[in-house]
């Protein structure tokens, strides 16, 4: 019996992490793959979601012997903390976007966002009264923990289902946005920003929109994750985590959801999470360090050999109006465009 539960535990954990990473990848893909907006501070938005969900789910800081200090603690029932968390991601995206998304060259902008990510962890660690500093917030009540025993296997599979529902919702939203005129405007902005302005697109507004939507999606992924692991600390969202998601997209393929799925499976889930289940052959510092070194090598390799990733972006083929002859879509791949 315990053997079965052991494998259940592994499967549940991997599936929930896959779901969380998929949601995050879909959000980042919308920002970078579809709209060409760089967000090297992406992980901060996942953290915003996680902290918000935690603060709204947990009781006041004086509880449990008062060993933590943080704001809030309103002890709201599921799904309220998750909804508020998603909104929080959108709200925080506004000032960050207004400052960071000015018309800066792409790498300059990336560097600025990286600094934002660095300073965010510093602020949280240096002001412990805010979010309990480097210790982080723990003992977060699991969502629906009063209905099912949170330690049971049944609860675990329920959580997988919950995660799957969130994944599906995000997938549907992202797909709908990408296929709409808004999605087309984003892609035009990605391809050539100056010309996009010349054809009537308000590039600033488009950038803010995708930044806010992406921020909300990232926050949701954080809420789902914190509900599962019941704790959240600055260790979980250091600046390299954003890089892991970018690696996932570059490996999987930019600009399409299948690529996001492939990337989410291969990089954050298998590579980072999956290896923790293997017997550690050396001390934890070495295995953690090796993981990041492998990620670094993987991304350099992919950028050199296959920058478009595994699954390329699909062409949006439109049929001519009924009165004209049906013409075939030309058989070119987006990889053929330089």
């Amino acid at each position: 019996m315990s053997g079965a539960t052991g494998w259940d535990f592994v499967a549940i954990t991997l599936l929930v992490y896959l779901g969380v990473n998929l949601i995050a990848c879909l959000g980042l893909n919308l920002q970078y793959g579809t709209a060409g907006v760089l967000n090297f501070a992406f992980i901060v938005f996942q953290a915003v979601g996680a902290y918000t969900a935690a603060l709204f789910a947990v009781g006041p800081s004086s509880g449990n012997g008062g060993f933590q200090t943080y704001l809030g603690g309103w002890h709201l029932p599921f799904p309220l903390p998750w909804i508020i968390a998603t909104v929080a991601g959108a709200v925080v995206a506004l000032p960050v976007g207004l400052v960071g998304l000015r018309r800066l060259r792409s790498d300059y902008q990336a560097m600025v966002m990286l600094v934002v990510s660095l300073i965010a962890t510093t602020v949280v660690v240096s002001f412990p009264g805010f979010l309990n500093g480097s210790a982080g917030i723990s003992l977060v009540p699991p969502p629906l923990g009063t209905l099912l025993n949170p330690i049971s296997v049944g609860y675990g599979w329920m959580y997988v289902g919950l995660t799957a529902v969130c994944c599906l919702s995000v997938f549907v939203v992202v797909a709908a946005l990408a296929r709409s005129p808004l999605g087309r405007s984003w892609r035009a902005m990605r391809d050539n920003e100056v010309v996009a302005g010349a054809v009537g697109l308000d590039v600033t507004r488009l950038r803010m929109l995708v930044f806010v939507v992406g921020g909300a999606i990232a926050a949701l992924s954080g809420a789902v994750l914190v509900g599962f692991i019941s704790a959240w600390s600055p260790d979980a969202w250091l600046y390299p985590e954003t890089f892991a998601y970018f690696t996932a997209l570059i490996v999987g393929g930019l600009g399409n959801s299948i690529g996001a799925l492939i990337g989410a499976v291969l990089v954050p889930t298998l590579l980072l999470e999956g290896v923790t289940f293997l017997p550690t052959f050396a001390n934890p510092t070495v295995s953690l360090g090796l993981q990041w070194i492998i990620i670094g090598i993987v991304i350099i390799g992919f950028l050199w050999f296959r920058p478009r990733g595994i699954a390329p972006e699909r062409k949006n083929v439109l049929a001519p109006p009924a009165r004209t002859l049906t013409l075939p879509g030309a058989g070119h791949d987006i990889a053929d465009v330089s």
Binding site: S106, D107, V112, I119, S126, V286, I300
Partner: protein, 296 residues
């Protein structure tokens, strides 16, 4: 204790670090158009190697040379091994910065594996024997500021009066034109990375001396004030880097001293960065930033 002297003194010490680091960082950008995020990790590497050498018995001057050599080696290796091949393939600026971040992670985690996760510290480096108005500075701190000052002058002299400096400026402005005029741009670029790498390495040693304790990740955390100083002064301009470092150094120390919280240093540097981006993203000495199209 005269708080003004304390602020200016510690501000100058921090500025010494930020200036040496910033000039190196901005030099790499000016000559090769790359924002090298791995810079912080190279600083950490140099700091750790210098510490090892110092623990083995060498004095700080030798450690300084070792640090500079480490920085130069790693920087040259990164440029030759990664940036140049990708630039040959016409990689865009975003690809290059992702690559520099990849190398930063590889280097930093390699350092973690080799050196271990614990922190290193030089401890008390001598007595605070230099006393001004009741505030004590250790000899190593004073030497640091002096060395930084000398280096700034050397950089200025090199830029203005030597053939190499002129070649670097020509390559920075227009590589094709420089090449057609006979400048051996490949060698100029290599030398630029060696020099800036040496500055990076030396800054790593300074960092080890200034902070209470450091490890493989400390260099990257210093990217916040370094980048703030460079952006403030105008990226691509060595004089901008010096000015930016001075302002950030003094202002952040003032904030920490008045506010009583050491974390304010980073926060103030960040606030200055945000302010510059909102008001004047090209920085004070803006010519390089403007012509490279960094901010429109």
């Amino acid at each position: 204790m005269n708080q003004f002297v304390l602020i200016v003194g510690s501000g100058l010490i921090t500025a010494a670090l930020l200036a040496v680091a910033g000039v190196g960082f901005t030099l790499q950008f000016s000559v090769t158009n790359v924002l090298n995020i791995a810079y912080g990790s190279i600083m950490s590497a140099a700091a750790l190697v210098a510490y090892a050498v110092n623990t083995a018995g060498a004095n700080l001057w030798v450690s300084g040379l070792v640090a500079a050599a480490t920085g130069a080696t790693f920087s040259l290796a990164i440029n030759r091994g990664v940036f140049r091949p990708f630039e040959g393939r016409r990689a865009g600026p975003f690809t290059l910065i992702i690559l520099s971040l990849a190398m930063s992670l590889i280097l930093e985690n390699a350092l973690l594996i080799v050196g271990g996760p614990h922190f290193f510290s030089y401890g008390q480096l001598g007595q605070p024997s230099v006393r001004i108005e009741g505030v004590g500075f250790t000899p190593s701190q004073v030497v640091m500021v002096a060395v930084a000052g000398v280096l700034m002058f050397v950089v200025h002299a090199m830029q203005k009066w030597t053939k190499l400096g002129k070649a670097m400026r020509a390559t920075a402005t227009n590589p094709e034109l420089a090449r057609s005029r006979g400048v051996r741009t490949a060698i100029v670029v290599d030398l630029a990375w060696v020099i800036s790498g040496a500055l990076c390495g030396l800054a790593g040693l300074f960092m080890g001396i200034i902070v209470g304790a450091f490890n493989a990740s400390t260099g990257s955390s210093f990217l916040v004030p370094i980048i703030a100083g460079v952006v403030l002064g105008g990226i691509g301009s060595p004089y901008g880097a010096m000015l930016g470092a001075l302002i950030i150094g003094i202002v952040s120390e003032a904030a920490a001293s008045i506010g009583g919280l050491s974390a304010l240093k980073q926060l103030v540097a960040f606030a200055v960065l945000i302010g510059m981006l909102l008001l004047r993203p090209q920085g004070i000495f803006s010519s390089t930033a403007a012509e490279r199209g960094l901010a429109r």
